[in-house]
């Protein structure tokens, strides 16, 4: 089972943000995506998740074409994204943020809400139990009843991860999960991601912190100027001459 991206292109006016991207991400893997600023990583995320439409190309998830689907439909198909700048529901508490993310709730329909109160109550109890597990897993217990707008940057990143988990996806797209997060918390987030991957959830991770990323992922791809330059095991990828030239030239 894979997420397949075939020949995807996307232009903004005259700027070719994605220029024939090909990528195959196994749905149970920890997969990294790196590249210099403006390489097209975040654009690729938006195109995969349906927030932008591709000009050309095909995207399939577990064999099913998804490039014609809306963003919510793609999430329901089993692939949830997070955002580079956290988008918490700032006036809802951490707990409410997570409750809101649970899929297919009877109480989210006006009919169910007024005419099936018993079902709604039972579902709420079941969702609340899953939320408690998620809060414990992400060590958010202390802030569970705080409005999420008041959390630190790192806690917001964890909350976004938690919300994605509540959807029970097969693959989570993480956009810079370590940006603005303090080093202690980075270690914790990495542990959680590895643990969740052990339970069968795949991750596709954009990250600038190469040191952290290479420790986390088993495979990675390097993008530059809208193309995938190389793909493979982190050490091998970083050793490829064209990658060193395009991306790491100055560093090594």
């Amino acid at each position: 089972m894979t997420l397949e991206i075939r020949n995807v292109t996307k232009a903004f006016g005259g700027f070719q943000a994605l220029d024939g991207v090909r990528l195959s991400v196994p749905l149970d893997s920890l997969f990294g995506l790196i590249g210099p600023n403006g390489a097209g990583k975040s654009t690729l995320f938006s195109v995969i998740s349906g927030f932008l439409s591709a000009d050309q190309g095909e995207i399939t998830l577990g064999g099913r074409r998804i490039d014609g689907l809306s963003a919510p439909a793609r999430a329901r198909a089993g692939m949830v994204r997070t955002f580079q700048v956290p988008r918490e529901f700032s006036h809802l508490t951490v707990r409410e943020n997570l409750m809101a993310a649970a899929p297919a709730q009877t109480g989210e329909g006006l009919f169910g809400l007024f005419f099936r109160p018993g079902t709604v109550r039972r579902e709420e109890a079941a969702i609340a139990a899953r939320v408690e597990e998620t809060i414990a897993l992400l060590k958010l217990t202390r802030v569970a009843d705080q409005p999420s707008g008041k959390l630190s940057g790192g806690q917001k990143k964890l909350l976004e991860l938690g919300r994605a988990l509540m959807v029970e996806p097969r693959l989570i797209l993480l956009d810079e999960p370590f940006a603005g997060v303090n080093p202690v918390l980075i270690g914790e987030i990495m542990e959680r991601i590895a643990e969740l991957n052990g339970r069968g959830i795949g991750f596709l991770v954009i990250e600038h912190d190469l040191e952290a990323l290479t420790r986390l992922v088993s495979r990675m791809a390097v993008m530059d100027r809208g193309r995938v330059l190389a793909e493979g095991e982190p050490a091998a990828v970083l050793d490829e001459p064209q990658v060193r030239e395009a991306y790491l030239g100055g560093l090594s």
Binding site: F89, S90, A100
Partner: protein
């Protein structure tokens, strides 16, 4: 209670109903509806015209709710994918279209001359008894509406519309379609405004297009802002404050007798405007507090 107070209470409750609809739409969901009076007008004309054709009021009120609600549906479909500010303009335009249509379609609405002789609620009762009965009915309907909105606000549906208000893109990312929720909210709010319109028509008994100008929408906005955005109690309290000042400023003439009767109308609107400015300066969260202070 004398007739004057009962009359004010009835009008105040009509504003409470309108404010409840807007609280659901703006306070909870973040929809900037600048065309609330349009749904109010549709409700008023629907119930009035049907009643004059002999349809019993027990049917004309639901018809007002249904037609006002239905009229919100296409607007939702067309414009909910627009950005907030464009949506606001579309709704404002909609309410003006409604007003212009009822002004020009004389065969249906009698144009600028308006619709006179609309039957009252409780035609059988005389004088104050009729008024008291009307007040009791609108109070009961308002209580039901408050209960409904509270129920919605505290439900999973309410949680999700607040999530939409806070960050729509994140809601999409979680696999839920904000547009369908926004359309439902728009329809429910419009239906409540339609019921308010029906009460208005049968209470005033004479409606003309000029009663449905955008100023009515902005009175409702004032009530919601002064009461506290996103609070159901705020809709009730805000409408009460609005009514106290709209009516209370009537007595300004006793204090400032040199102002003419004609000028007084403008002065009253000015007083309410000043009140809104003072609220925004000194209590921006409204009297009951808004959704940011939970």
């Amino acid at each position: 209670m004398d007739a004057y107070l009962a009359a004010i209470a009835i009008i105040a409750l009509i504003y409470v109903l309108l404010s409840l609809g807007l609280t659901l739409q703006y306070g909870l969901t973040g929809l900037i509806n600048f065309g609330h009076v349009g749904f109010f007008a549709i409700g008023a004309y629907t119930s009035a015209l049907l009643a004059l054709k002999g349809v019993p009021l027990i049917l004309t009120f639901p018809a007002a709710a249904v037609l006002a609600g239905l009229s919100a549906w296409p607007i939702g479909l067309v414009s909910l994918r627009l950005r907030d500010d464009y949506f606001a303009i579309v709704t404002l335009g909609f309410s003006e279209v409604v007003r212009i249509v009822i002004t020009s379609e004389k065969w249906l609405t009698n144009g600028v001359q308006g619709v006179p002789g609309i039957p009252r609620l409780f035609e059988g009762l005389q004088g104050f008894a009729a008024q008291a009965a009307t007040l009791a009915v609108i109070l009961a309907v308002t209580i039901v509406a408050v209960w409904m909105i509270l129920r919605i606000a505290k439900s999973p549906f309410g949680r999700l519309i607040e999530a939409i208000r806070d960050n729509e893109e994140a809601v999409k990312a979680l696999g839920k379609d904000p547009a369908s929720f926004k359309i439902q909210v728009l329809i429910v709010g419009a239906a409540i405004a339609g019921v308010a319109g029906a009460f208005y028509a049968h209470y005033i008994t004479y409606i003309v297009p000029d009663q449905f100008i955008p100023l009515v929408t902005f009175y409702v906005w004032m009530a919601v802002i002064m009461g506290g955005v996103g609070r159901v109690s705020g809709a009730v309290v805000g409408a009460a404050i609005l009514m106290v000042f709209l009516e209370g400023s009537r007595f300004l003439r006793d204090i400032v007798p040199w102002i003419s009767e004609v000028d007084m109308a403008s002065v009253r609107i000015g007083v309410v405007g000043l009140l809104l400015i003072l609220f925004v300066m000194f209590r921006p969260q409204g009297l009951m507090g808004d959704y940011t202070k939970r």
